[in-house]
Structures are given as structure tokens and as C-alpha cells.
Amino acid sequence: MKTFKRLVTARELPVFIALVAVVLLAGIANPSFLSASGATDILLGVAIVAILAVGQTFVIVMRHIDLSVGSLIGFTSFLIGDIYAQGYGLMAGLGAALAVGLVVGAVNGFLVAYLQLPSLVVTLGALYIVRGVFNDYAFGRTITAAMVPPEIAWIGLNRLGSIPYLFIIGLSLAIVSGIVMRRVKAARDLYAIGSNPAAAELAGIPVARRVFGAFLFNGALTGLAGAVMLGRFNAANANSGLALELIVIAACVVGGVTIAGGSGTVWGAFLGAILLQAITRTIGALGIPQFWQQAFNGALIIIAIAFDKYLNSRVKTTTIMGSKDA
């Protein structure tokens, strides 16, 4: 009974309901949508945004934001292919991607945590710098299917039953992160910092270290996620990852991770990413004319955000941290 009650008042419930509603709607309009291949499509399309949304959650709950993820993931997806094509192998490529992600995350984290600069500005600057460096590095070259490490290509193309491996990677990440957020004290501190930084400081939480850690983690995660992007598209060029950050943030918000910080879970973000993708697919499945689709997309996201806010203003938050603790 307690579990049931917990499920019903869970913060993620609105998102989940919305997701089910959208999928049903699409299924009624176009039954093939509900088939196994329809599901595979959504899951495959969601993988990248879902992974990035999970990482972004760590940052947003602390009232920060990381806008550099689009440029970074585009860069590392290109980098992995490029290094492999030059003969250094898969591990070298992954190592480089991780290194780049760590560097960007560390710089972002340092500037935000220790110099106390606003994260929107810092990561916006990082967005530009990384994109510029990436463009110079890539300059007109493309990573083609032949240049993708076969292991990555294989993961990108294959599935367990109907579930793409890429999605399984994302899902595992969400599960692990969810557990970490609930059980590891350092992660739970993030919620305290987001709710009330001054109080968190007074409570003895090493705020700067946590903030730095979150950005570092998000950077590393995004860097490695370049492999997922490469596996998904089997190609990369200077435009990879463009404007992805806004979609990631929208996914988090729709999933209940409020911009004001202090609440929301990685599960919500994950579901939010799936919901956004489902909305896009539904619009197509409903046969809405091409030129109306983007407008509908925007309108539905607004509704999703409003819906989530409405329902969550009625859900009791039992702890000051607002996490799914009680």
C-alpha cells in the first residue's frame, strides 16, 4: 500500500500519464504506431537526448544550467570517428572523448563553483568556444560510415528483442543515476544546494565541491555520449549536435526538473525525453500536414510544461529537498 501511495504521488506521475496519453492517441490514429517497430523507433530516437537529460538533471537541480552539451557531444562524436579513422583504435577515441568532456566540464565547473560566475553565461561562452574549436578541427570533413569503429556501429544497429542497445545504455544510466541520487549523500546534497544554497552552506555541505563535481560529471557523460551519437547516425560533421541543448533542457523541464532547482529526478528527465519524442511522432502519426507540425510541437510542449506545473503544485512535497525520499 505504501508503495502504491508512493507511486501515485510520485513527481514523475504527470509525465508518465502524459506519455501514456500521447502514445494512446497516436495508436488510435495510426495503429502501426503501437507496434514493436513503432516502439523501437521512439526508443532509438530518444537515446541521445535521454542520456544528456540525465546528466543535465544533476546540474539543473542545483539551479544551474549547462548549455555547452550540444557543441560538446557533436565534437566528441566527430573526434571518436576521426581518431579511429587515423588508425588509433576505438579505445583511444573514447579516451579522447572522455578527456575533452572532462576538460570542458572542469572549466565550466571551476568557473561556476569557485569563481561563482553565473552558469548560463559561462556555459553559453563554452557553447561558442567548443563549437568554434570543433568547426576548426573538422573543417569541411565528414565522418562517414566507413570511419565508425565497428563496435560502435554494431551497438548502434542492433537490439535486444525490439529494444535498441542504445536505449538500454541510456536506461542503465538512468537507473544507476537514480540510485545514486537517492542513496549517495553527495548526490542528495545537490537538492539541498538547489533549494537553498545559503542554508546548504550553513549545514556544512561543501557547496563548491558539489557544484564542480556535477559539472565535471555532466561533461564526462556528454563526452562519452558522443559514442552514442556516432552509433546512432553513423556519421558526424561540423553541424552535429547543433541546438541540441535546448531540446535537452525542454526534456528536463517537461519531466519535472524545475529550472528553479531543488526538485525533479533523473527518472523524470528520462521520461521527459521520451515524451518529447513521442509528441513529435504522434504529430506525424496523426497525419497533421507537414507545415503545421512544428507549431503543434511547440504548443504541446507548452501544455506539457503547464500540465506538469499544475499537477506538481498539488503534490505534497514531504521533505524540504523535494526529492523522492519519503
Binding site: 529550472i259 507545415f291 507548452i302
Partner: protein
């Protein structure tokens, strides 16, 4: 007996002058009238929207949909004209559409209480989508000669583009309102502490709604300028402008946390970025380098004041803002975002 504070907006002014000097040194083609007119024409749309965005960010909100609103105004203008409406009326139609975009954003934020960052990402998609609804895949490209020559041409005999007059007038008004009227004071007050402002009797929600509306209207004006300059209205114009506008406003010394900033810092910032881009371009740097420079400038714009502040060891509450007429509560520290 006021010591001359180093505040970032003065820094930007100096930066602008230095940028012009460097540009002159680096390239022969930089410092002449025709290049200046190119730079002015390029920055006009950004500058117009930046004027309104300054108010919005100072008040603690943000609007990521401005580029889409600009384009929707442009698309509406084209749509009306193609439907047979006289061009002058179509222009008014475009402006009204921009205003409507701003009002809708404002409604979502003030009445429904949705966070502006998130909701304007959604309206970004909505407004762009509506541009496609209006124009489909047919850009409108046969606009009246007279208007195009205003959009693209220069004032007779000089190097100044017509659109610069518009910009100067709007900038003067914006500067005056922000720094010398109570609406400007309210904006700062709301940005510093919305609750305290409300208790002081300031109509917070209404003011914010107005600010969003103004931002939308300015996007509409910029949309009209854009349409005339490019002699066409297309559903996919002005993509990605919002981040550049916000970057310029931030570079101009407006704090993202709200409550701090000056109009002329922003104007200097917009001009500087245009000047730098031109200087780099004429010196042979690629467009990629410009991205890196923009990012670096943005970072410097927030790091430098921190460093000077640390050097002076002054409490941050009074550090770098416009101390003239703001309702400030010393010791009321805003958490950094």
C-alpha cells in the same frame, strides 16, 4: 567625491574604442565609411531586440523565442502583402504579431507562473512553426522597391543606413526609460527582489507582462527591418539569433541574476561585437574563429569584474551596479544562477 568606479559597462565602452583601433590597424579595409555602414546594418536587428531584452533580463526573466518572433513578424508581413494588403498596413500587421508573441510569453510567465527559460524554448518552436503555417515553402520575394531601398540603402549622400536612425531613436528612448523613469526603477527593483518590490507597491506581474510585450514588439520591429533588408520574408529566417542577442546583452554588463545593468553598456556591447566580427573577417579569420572569440569575450565579461571586485575587496552587494536610483537592500544577496 565619488571615486570613479570601474564598472563593466564602462569597460565595454573602452573595449569598443579599442576594438575600432585594433580593426583599423589590422586591415586597410576596415576603417572607412562603407564598412561602418555594413557593420551598422548588420547589428541593427540584434541591437533593437537587445534594447528590450536588457529590461527583461534586468527584471530577472529571459526570452529565448525572440528570433522566432522576429521571423513570425516577417512572415506575417510577407503573408499579408502577398494576400493583397497594402504594404504599409502589412507592416503594422507584422508589428502587431510581434506584440502578440510577447504578450503570449508574458501571459504564460505571469499568469500561469511557468518558468520563462523553459516556456520560451517552447514558444520558440511554436512561433517558428507558425511561420511555416503562414508561408509554407514559398518565401515572399517581390516587395515594393521603395521600402527595400529604405531597408538596404543609405541616407542620401552619407554612409548611414536608414535603419540606423530607427535604432538611434529606439536606443535613446530605451536608455531614457531604463535609467530615468520609474518604470526603469521598477524593473531594477523587481530584478533585485521581486517579493520586496511587490511589498513596496510595485505592480510586479503587470510590469513583467509589459516587459515581455515590449520585447515582442521590438522583435516585430526587428522583423520588419530584417524583411526590408533581405527583400524577402521566409519561414526559416533568423535562426539562432536569440543566443547572440542574449550573449550581447550579457557582454554589456547585464547580470543574468537580475537587478544590474546599463543600457549603454549593452549598446556598446552590440556595436563591439559587430566591430570585432568585421575586423576579424577582414583580417582573414574564418567564421569559426569568430565563434571562439565571442565565447571568450562572454567569459571575460563575467570573469573580469569578479577579479577587479576581488582586488578591491568590496562587498559584492555594492560592487558594480548602477547606484543611482535603485531600490536596493544592502545585504540582500541574490543566489547566483
Amino acid at each position: 567625491m565619488r571615486r570613479w568606479n570601474f564598472s563593466w559597462d564602462k569597460g565595454v565602452g573602452i573595449f569598443l574604442i579599442v576594438a575600432v583601433m585594433i580593426g583599423t590597424l589590422l586591415s586597410d579595409n576596415f576603417a572607412n565609411a562603407s564598412n561602418l555602414s555594413f557593420v551598422l546594418r548588420d547589428v541593427t536587428e540584434f541591437a533593437i531586440i537587445a534594447l528590450a531584452m536588457t529590461f527583461l533580463i534586468i527584471s530577472g526573466e529571459i526570452d529565448l523565442s525572440v528570433a522566432s518572433a522576429l521571423n513570425l513578424s516577417s512572415a506575417s508581413l510577407g503573408f499579408l502583402y502577398r494576400a493583397g494588403v497594402p504594404f504599409e498596413l502589412a507592416i503594422i500587421g507584422g508589428l502587431l504579431v510581434g506584440l502578440a508573441c510577447g504578450l503570449f510569453n508574458g501571459y504564460l510567465v505571469t499568469k500561469l507562473g511557468l518558468p520563462s527559460l523553459a516556456v520560451t524554448i517552447a514558444t520558440l518552436a511554436l512561433y517558428r512553426g507558425l511561420s511555416y503555417v503562414l508561408l509554407g515553402n514559398q518565401p515572399v520575394n517581390e516587395l515594393p522597391e521603395f521600402w527595400i531601398s529604405i531597408g538596404y540603402g543609405r541616407i542620401l549622400g552619407t554612409f548611414l543606413p536608414w535603419s540606423t536612425i530607427l535604432l538611434v531613436v529606439l536606443a535613446a528612448i530605451a536608455w531614457f526609460v531604463l535609467h530615468h523613469t520609474r518604470y526603469g526603477r521598477w524593473t531594477f527593483a523587481i530584478g533585485v527582489n521581486a517579493e520586496a518590490a511587490r511589498f513596496s507597491g510595485i505592480p510586479v506581474e503587470r510590469t513583467k507582462l509589459m516587459l515581455f510585450a515590449m520585447t515582442g514588439l521590438m522583435a516585430g520591429v526587428a522583423g520588419v527591418v530584417y524583411t526590408l533588408r533581405f527583400a524577402s520574408a521566409s519561414p526559416d529566417g533568423a535562426v539562432g539569433y536569440e543566443l547572440s542577442i542574449i550573449a550581447a546583452v550579457l557582454f554589456g554588463g547585464v547580470s543574468i541574476a537580475g537587478g544590474v545593468g546599463t543600457m549603454w553598456g549593452v549598446i556598446a556591447a552590440v556595436l563591439s561585437l559587430g566591430v570585432i566580427r568585421s575586423a576579424l573577417q577582414l583580417t582573414g579569420f574564418t567564421a569559426n574563429s569568430l565563434l571562439i572569440v565571442s565565447g571568450a569575450l562572454l567569459l571575460i565579461s563575467v570573469i573580469a569584474p569578479k577579479i577587479t571586485e576581488a582586488l578591491r575587496k568590496r562587498p559584492s552587494a555594492l560592487g558594480k551596479d548602477n547606484t543611482k536610483k535603485t531600490i536596493r537592500e544592502v545585504g540582500n544577496e541574490k543566489p547566483t544562477h
